[in-house]
């Protein structure tokens, strides 16, 4: 692996602002975002005064960073990108006390290294957010102009809606968790330039929303919690949130994919509960359908097809289930008899039906493959690959939007007329996504769920949980 520029900078032998060598060759051909990626932040002190600015421009694999600051003591100051985009007081876990800018959380650590290190370390060895120190002059001001491939405005290392913090002390580039850099003196949230989205926030601290469905007649967005099954109804106009159905009852302990039927009933893929549930238009329980008792169910998504059936993916058991109009659940397609091969992890995930009524399309998260399944013959065809971490799907005509959770982008795919082949044309991080799961259409807009399901494996979610509405690109 090549090293980033920061290592060289630490040795002091190269001028600032030099382009670095790409560390992620595989991503060099990454599709563009819908508009060029640039971002800025206003740096403030804990009293709320503006004391500086940050500007970032994405040039291919390199992120150009310019920091200007004032009001600091002369000398070197540790500087890091922190995980959360919240420049508010919050708990410093090491001392369990509220500190200034504690809401920004710890250092951004996309490689899950768990290690504070020098800016030259690879992301898997040290925090991606560990930046070079800011050298403050006698007048208390500093300017730094650097370039790195450790961080980006898109993808797994994306830092949109995260924060840049300047600390009181120099950085020893080794002590955990933050290099003995002391108090957090200045903070700014990195906001994407020339791009607007709208956030809908949820009240629960453990909601981990996963699915989404939109009712145009009610102008209501439904979303559900992967961890407790609670369904919320969000007024798409005002953003007001109400509880549509409390989760936790038998078979309703988790909510993943959601869809509305013609009667306004909400269908819920029950995840590890192994169920498909139906709620009435006012949220009352109508049915909980159980899949066969077998180990490790993971009912992930479902789609109402024009043949009147509902088709259901299971991400760990190689089966597509079918729910007929009389609410009978059965195995429709045993996938181990097809070219779809299940492996460890999350397999078939998002599922949609083509508008011509002929096919289902489903993405396999752990292989990045998109599959086309003929509803009549059950013939399976691989449409394309390259959609690693593909989760929820939205199809409009021949345009397919694929939410890619770990990659933190929404990919736009152009499909052929027979849905048999496709090509990624754009990849959008929007204004920064946190492990997004799926999306739904709201006219010319779409709303994507920022599930943060990666935080179920450890760590603290950034609350409030959000759904983000954006103009389709």
């Amino acid at each position: 692996m090549s090293k980033s520029i920061f290592k060289t900078l630490a040795l002091g032998t190269l001028a600032l602002g030099l382009a670095s060598v790409g560390a992620q060759i595989v991503n060099m051909t990454m599709p563009p975002a819908s508009t060029p990626l640039s971002a800025s932040a206003v740096l403030r002190n804990p009293q709320g005064q503006t004391v500086g600015s940050v500007r970032m421009v994405q040039n291919g694999m390199n992120l150009q960073i310019t920091v200007r600051s004032s009001g600091l003591t002369p000398g070197q100051h540790g500087m890091h990108v922190h995980e959360f985009g919240r420049c508010i007081p919050g708990v410093d876990a090491a001392i369990n006390e509220v500190v200034a800018f504690g809401g920004a959380g710890g250092h951004f650590d996309p490689g899950k290294s768990g290690n504070h290190d020098s800016p030259g370390a690879e992301n898997e060895d040290g925090h991606g957010g560990d930046l070079p120190m800011l050298n403050v002059g006698a007048d208390g001001t500093a300017t730094l102009n650097i370039s790195t491939d450790k961080l980006s405005l898109t993808g797994e290392n994306g830092i949109l809606k995260r924060s840049l913090i300047i600390h009181a002390q120099p950085d020893d580039y080794k002590s955990d968790p933050s290099g003995m850099t002391g108090a957090r003196e200045q903070c700014g949230v990195l906001e994407r330039a020339n791009f607007n989205t709208r956030d809908y926030t949820l009240p629960g601290l453990q909601d981990f929303p996963e699915g989404v469905a939109y009712s145009s007649s009610k102008n209501v967005i439904y979303t559900g919690s992967a961890t407790n099954g609670t369904i919320y109804a969000i007024n798409a106009g005002t953003g007001a949130v109400s509880k549509f159905s409390e989760g936790g009852a038998k078979g309703r302990t988790s909510a993943l994919g959601l869809k509305l039927d013609a009667k306004g009933q909400l269908w819920i893929a029950g995840g590890a509960a192994g169920t498909v549930s139906i709620l009435s238009p006012d949220g009352a329980p109508v049915a909980v359908l159980e899949t066969p008792k077998s180990p490790n169910p993971y009912i992930n998504d479902l789609i109402l097809a024009s043949d009147g059936n509902v088709y259901v993916t299971d991400s760990s058991r190689p089966v597509i289930f079918k729910v007929s109009p009389d609410l009978k659940l059965s195995k429709w397609l045993e996938l181990d008899r097809t070219t779809i091969k299940y492996g460890p992890g999350i397999n078939l995930n998002g599922i949609i039906a083509t508008p011509d009524g002929k096919y289902l399309l489903s993405v396999q998260l752990n292989t990045g493959e998109l599959w086309r399944i003929d509803l009549k013959t059950k013939a399976v065809k691989k449409v394309m690959g390259g959609l690693m971490n593909g989760d929820g799907l939205l199809l409009e005509g021949r345009t397919l939007y694929v939410v890619r959770n770990k990659n933190q982008v929404v990919s736009k795919v152009n499909l052929s007329a027979d849905y048999g082949s496709g090509r990624i044309t754009l990849e959008e991080p929007l204004e920064g996504l946190r492990f997004p799961t799926t999306l739904a259409s709201i006219g010319g807009d779409a709303v994507v769920v920022q599930g943060q399901l990666d935080k179920l494996q450890g760590g603290t979610p950034e609350t409030p949980f959000k759904l983000t509405r954006f103009k389709k690109f």
Binding site: V91, N96, V99, L205, Q206, A249, R252, T460, E462, P464
Partner: protein
């Protein structure tokens, strides 16, 4: 000096955060100072009921107390049929009895008692709808078809897979005005987060029994509940945690609304944080104060540990008009309070607008002190309105059914 200024500003801004915005998930739970409680186990010495003790019991002037039946075992919940038949659950015996005063002598003699269902583990709450009797016991709701003579068909499973009973096995159920079945399931434990989300809840069950939702949560052990006959507001009584001291927490009368969390185990009463409950597993690792702010407070409290069991609205005409649409609640009695509470039936007075105003003792005298020793001869549990407009109360310790009638000023 600069340092001092900084920290005071910090305090100010974090306070503002707590007041104006919802809390944010914390990386670690907050620290809390140690706290001590003085707790007293005081289980009054139980005495078998005998007729000579009747004179100890008191009801308001104009009311008269009689014994309708004795020797019924663990007599718990009752459901009175329009013809005067009474279905009685016996939790410890796991059965259902059908009682009928055929000879109209005001007593249920041995020949007027029939065991009509058996082997229903922890049989407790019961209700009737469309000719069928529904009984909840442990983890199952059973349904039986009723015959004219009170006998029942073999029980069938109506709904199943409810949580373990644990410490709180008194499940109850009622059909709601909306056509759904409502059933309560207490917590398996005293005062910590439960593993099964259906514990400590009121569940709402679809008419076919095959799906359900958590209607309200954070209810430690709500047994008595029901819709006010006039306002249709749903009220319930919840038993607060044990071993937190004589006066913490109060028994709660709640207005139960869909989707609300009533705070247990971390909060009691008016969203008050309970200092004796560990904070480590609060969702989001926030402070108790922050958590409790997002819960629903009680409507009224009653003496801690009094142990509310069933509540019944009085809709008949025998009692004076002021009692109409009031609720009567059996308080089975404390066992961890220096001065025992409960061991009585209380009246919840609803005003003309249908709002509850006070909770006052109605039937008292089961508990008393002799020298240093507290004694009791009745653990009241079930309350029901009889066909003649009198009130029936069960004692689950000696298997007594008491009948309270209004006879007026004599």
């Amino acid at each position: 000096m600069k340092r001092l200024l900084f920290s005071s500003l910090l305090v100010a801004s974090s306070l503002a955060l707590a007041q104006n915005t919802p809390p944010i998930a914390r990386p670690v739970p907050p620290g809390e100072p140690p706290v001590s409680a003085t707790v007293t186990r005081n289980e009054p010495t139980p005495l078998e009921f005998s007729m000579d003790k009747l004179s100890r019991l008191k009801v308001p002037a104009g009311f008269e107390l009689k014994v309708m039946a004795t020797g019924l075992g663990n007599a718990r919940m009752m459901h009175v049929m329009p013809d005067g038949g009474i279905y009685l659950t016996r939790r410890a015996q796991g059965d259902v009895y059908y009682l009928k005063d055929v000879n109209k002598d005001g007593k249920i003699e041995a020949v007027e008692r029939k065991q009509v269902a058996q082997n229903i583990k922890l049989a407790h709450g019961l209700d009737v709808r469309d000719g069928k009797l529904y009984v909840v016991g442990e983890k199952t709701i059973w349904v039986m078809t009723m015959a004219q003579d009170g006998t029942l068909s073999v029980p069938q499973v109506f709904a199943d897979g409810f949580p373990d009973a644990g410490q709180h096995p008194a499940r109850t159920l009622l059909w709601g005005y909306d056509g759904y079945l409502y059933a309560t399931f207490g917590s398996t434990n005293n005062d910590s987060r439960t593993p099964n989300p259906e514990e400590a809840t009121l569940l709402r069950i679809a008419p076919d029994g095959k799906s359900r939702e958590i209607f309200a949560s954070g209810l430690r052990h709500t047994i008595g509940f029901g819709w006010h006959p006039v306002t249709k507001v749903l009220y319930g009584f919840d038993q607060g945690s044990d071993w937190h001291g004589d006066n913490i927490p109060p028994e709660e009368m709640n207005v139960i609304e869909r989707g609300k969390n009533y705070g247990w185990p971390w909060c009691y009463g008016d969203k008050t944080p309970d200092p004796f409950v560990n904070v480590y597993n609060i969702p989001g690792k926030i402070s108790k104060a922050e958590y409790c702010a997002g819960t629903q407070g009680y409507l009224m409290g009653y003496t801690p540990h009094a142990a509310a069991i069933w509540m019944e609205y009085y809709t008949a005409a025998q009692f004076p008009l002021e009692y109409k649409n009031d609720a009567f609640v059996a308080m089975r009695g404390s066992w961890n309070r220096t001065e025992p509470s409960g061991y009585e039936v209380v009246r919840v007075d609803f005003d003309a607008a249908g709002k509850p105003s006070t909770i006052t003792p109605f039937l008292t005298g089961f508990v008393y002190q002799e020298g240093e020793v507290w004694k009791q001869f009745g653990r009241v549990a079930g309350v029901a309105q009889y066909t003649d407009g009198s009130l029936l109360v069960t004692d689950d310790q000696s298997g007594v059914i008491y009948q309270i009638s209004y006879t007026g000023a004599k």
